[in-house]
Amino acid sequence: MVAIGTLLILIAALGAFFSWRKVLHQKRWLLWILVFSVLGPEIANQFGWFAAEVGRQPWLVYGLMRTPEGLSAVVKANTVLTSLILFTFIYFLLFAVFIYLLNDKSSMAHMTTV
């Protein structure tokens, strides 16, 4: 997460520098990096959650309560699985809409500047 954040700062700084020198549009390699760096915050966000959720094991509340002690007796495993699948589906759906809109926005910006 920290590595991605640092990398994004560096990419942004480099972009700002080239933009200030008015040569950003000639640096195709950087423009391509910028396109894919859109995924950076998304990945960092998810990895942050993974780190928090996996890193605290085997504790649910650090030093006080272990994960098995927090197991809910009335929520069945397949209910949890269903909600997990549901949210995964929603995440992918919203991600697809996000990419579609972003692509749409950048093609429109291209038409107005050129």
């Binding site: 007796a73 929520v75 909600s83 749409d104």
Partner: protein, 209 residues
């Protein structure tokens, strides 16, 4: 009367959930009224009226849940396990409602806007309904055994009384939203909202019967 820590937190949790109902109430209400106008511009104005505040309002729910977890973990455990499916549904409704606000204006096509408008409105109505049903169940009483485990089912939560409280909550939020809208708008939409406010006052006062 002893005024111990339990009592103080009981009041605090109450204040947080009440604050949530008052604040998110009006923007859920605006959402519930959203489809009543067919005009794109009026829908935009209604979204704009809650635009800067709706997400702040929802933080009250998060804070309320957090306070419940910290102050009354047993209540939190019972409620969040017992109402698992209902809360997942509420979360889905709140997600679609939130992204609809952001995505709606990104494309001019009618089908695009209509889709997100429906997402916003249905999400708002469903959220209000579920909050009301939860409230109704707490007032009616839920089956809990000696270990503090919930003994009912999701469908068991949808009894007539809680459902009526749910409908009343939707009606109340619609009234609340319409009055907020009257305060925030002018002209033709203002007059419309004034009419809706009157209608939803009738709706919310007749719903419990």
């Amino acid at each position: 009367m002893s005024f111990d820590l339990n009592t103080i937190w009981f009041i605090l949790v109450g204040v947080l959930f009440t604050g949530y109902a008052i604040l998110d109430g009006f923007d859920l209400g605006i959402g519930a009224l959203h489809l009543f106008t067919k005009k794109d511009e009026e829908r935009r104005i209604m979204l704009n009226s809650v635009g800067p505040v709706w997400d702040g309002n929802e933080v009250w729910l998060v804070t309320g849940g957090g306070a419940l977890f910290a102050a009354f973990p047993d209540v939190y455990a019972t409620a969040f396990s017992g109402f698992y499916l209902a809360l997942i549904l509420l979360l889905v409704a709140l997600i679609f409602r939130a992204v609809a606000i952001e995505f709606r204006s990104k494309r001019p096509e009618f089908w695009w806007r209509q889709t997100w408008d429906i997402g916003f409105s249905v999400g708002s109505i469903l959220s209000a309904l579920l909050i009301g049903v939860a409230l109704g169940n707490i007032a009616w009483g839920v089956p809990i055994d000696g270990n503090g485990e919930f003994g009912g089912t999701f469908l068991g939560l949808l009894k007539p009384y809680p459902l009526l409280v749910g409908v009343t909550t939707v009606a109340l939020f619609m009234m609340h939203g319409a009055i907020y809208g009257v305060m925030k708008t002018e002209g033709e939409l203002h007059d419309k909202l004034r009419r809706w406010a009157m209608n939803s006052i009738i709706f919310s006062s007749s719903a419990p019967q």
